[in-house]
């Protein structure tokens, strides 16, 4: 489905890694690890198409994502380390706006149940700025069940700031997505097992030259 061919990523004058090739078949989880500054987020942003690799290309069903643009992005859900929440909007309004950008229409009842799934049952009308760090993260992650139809999930540090209940819920959500034939890419510092048909572990520390 998604492949990276000989990609090299440079930030400024520093080459983060090069000659990286990957192929993500349906059901594959790509787990990216590495120390701070090793280029995990840059790799994720490149796989999304936010950042262009200095050489090589990333392909979706055999076509370069820089050419496909929206035709690739309508298959993609990216949750960065920023939650992209607007403090003045309620959690439910935030979810509606974010899902709409992905081309997904989520009605109020669906948003309510997605929030409830992430332990925010009674907070759907709370302004996002009134929530704690972990609750904001959970609000951002509540997009996952709503956007289950999008095959590619790219999650940057999804476990950061989460409590154990939310972590196990996220594990279940991601493995269900992989079981349904989606692919997922995530970075993590924690050792969190996720049941998946196939797992590719990529440690960027072993790739820097």
């Amino acid at each position: 489905m998604l492949e990276a061919l000989q990609i090299e990523i440079t930030r400024g004058n520093r080459k983060l890694f090069g000659n990286l090739s990957l192929e993500l078949k349906p059901g594959t989880l790509l787990l990216v690890t590495g120390s701070n500054g090793s280029g995990k987020t840059s790799l994720l942003r490149a796989l999304c198409g936010l950042l262009s690799p200095s050489s090589g290309e990333i392909r979706w069903h055999g076509e370069n994502i820089r050419v496909l643009r929206e035709d690739y992005w309508k298959n993609l859900l990216y949750i960065g380390h920023n939650n992209a929440l607007k403090g003045e909007l309620t959690t439910s309004e935030n979810l509606a706006a974010l899902c709409a950008l992905s081309g997904v229409t989520a009605i109020a009842a669906q948003r309510k149940s997605a929030l409830a799934q992430f332990g925010l049952a009674d907070r759907e009308h709370a302004p996002a700025k009134s929530l704690s760090q972990g609750q904001q993260r959970r609000t951002a992650l509540a997009r996952l069940p709503l956007c289950a139809a999008l095959p590619v999930w790219v999650l940057d540090e999804p476990f950061a700031a989460l409590d154990s209940a939310a972590i196990s819920n996220l594990q279940a959500t991601v493995s269900q997505h992989l079981g349904d034939g989606g692919v997922a890419v995530m970075t993590t510092h924690q050792d969190v097992p996720i049941a998946a048909p196939a797992i590719i572990a990529l440690n960027l520390d072993q790739r820097t030259h």
Partner: protein
């Protein structure tokens, strides 16, 4: 795609409603700047009538500048901009929708207020609609050109000042045509030529500015 763009506009209007004070700042700035001139220049009706279109236009221009910095800055800071860059619709369309929402919030109030403010300058009742019409055609151009500047200066330190230096020179043709329309009408020449040129400029910027903004936003994400 229609649903997506409606959601984008809805989000921006809802945010503006929750941040009412930001909108009020721009409108109050416009009212105060325009009102300072009759006080400073003195009660001389002929002179005031003559300078009215220029003053109101310059004040509208500065008020537009004031609101521009907010256009993408907070979305850039909290990651919402990345989500727009990865949206299921062309970025140019999203930018156009956001520019429209921004104009509704910060441009349209100036247009609506202009006939009331023109009374301070004793602008004749026949000229007042010309002024309003010129602002109605001109303020969206200001928003669209300003959006290019806001996108280019995104994430830069001291971006606000740079934005002004970048965008104000590009506002000159709009200012000349807009204020000129009222002058031409008062001289009995008819404002049609000026207004048509403004309309042409609006179509031109409306077509090309969203794509220029998209390119600038993509660069800012790299």
């Amino acid at each position: 795609m229609g649903a997506l763009l409606r959601a984008v506009i809805r989000r921006d209007l809802l945010l503006a409603w929750r941040r009412r004070s930001d909108v009020a700042t721009v409108v109050l700035f416009f009212i105060i700047v325009v009102s300072l001139f009759p006080l400073g220049v003195g009660p001389e009706p002929d002179l005031l009538r003559k300078i009215a279109p220029g003053i109101i236009w310059v004040a509208a221009l500065l008020a537009c500048m004031l609101s521009l910095q907010h256009m993408f800055a907070s979305d850039h800071a909290d990651g919402a901009l990345d989500q727009m860059l990865l949206a299921a619709a062309p970025l140019g369309m999203i930018v156009a929708a956001r520019a429209f929402a921004h104009w509704l919030i910060s441009g349209l109030p100036l247009v609506i207020l202009s006939p009331i403010l023109a009374i301070q300058f004793d602008l004749s009742p026949e000229l007042s609609p010309v002024l309003t019409l010129s602002l109605l055609l001109g303020t969206p151009i200001l928003t669209l050109i300003g959006a290019i500047g806001a996108a280019l200066t995104l994430g830069l330190r001291g971006g606000g000042m740079l934005l002004a230096l970048l965008v104000l020179p590009l506002y000159i043709p709009v200012l000349i045509l807009g204020a000129g329309a009222v002058d031409a009408a008062s001289a009995g020449l008819g404002a049609d030529a000026h207004l048509l040129l403004l309309a042409a400029q609006l179509i031109l910027t409306g077509t090309f500015a969203p794509w220029a903004v998209s390119a600038a936003l993509r660069i800012s994400a790299e």
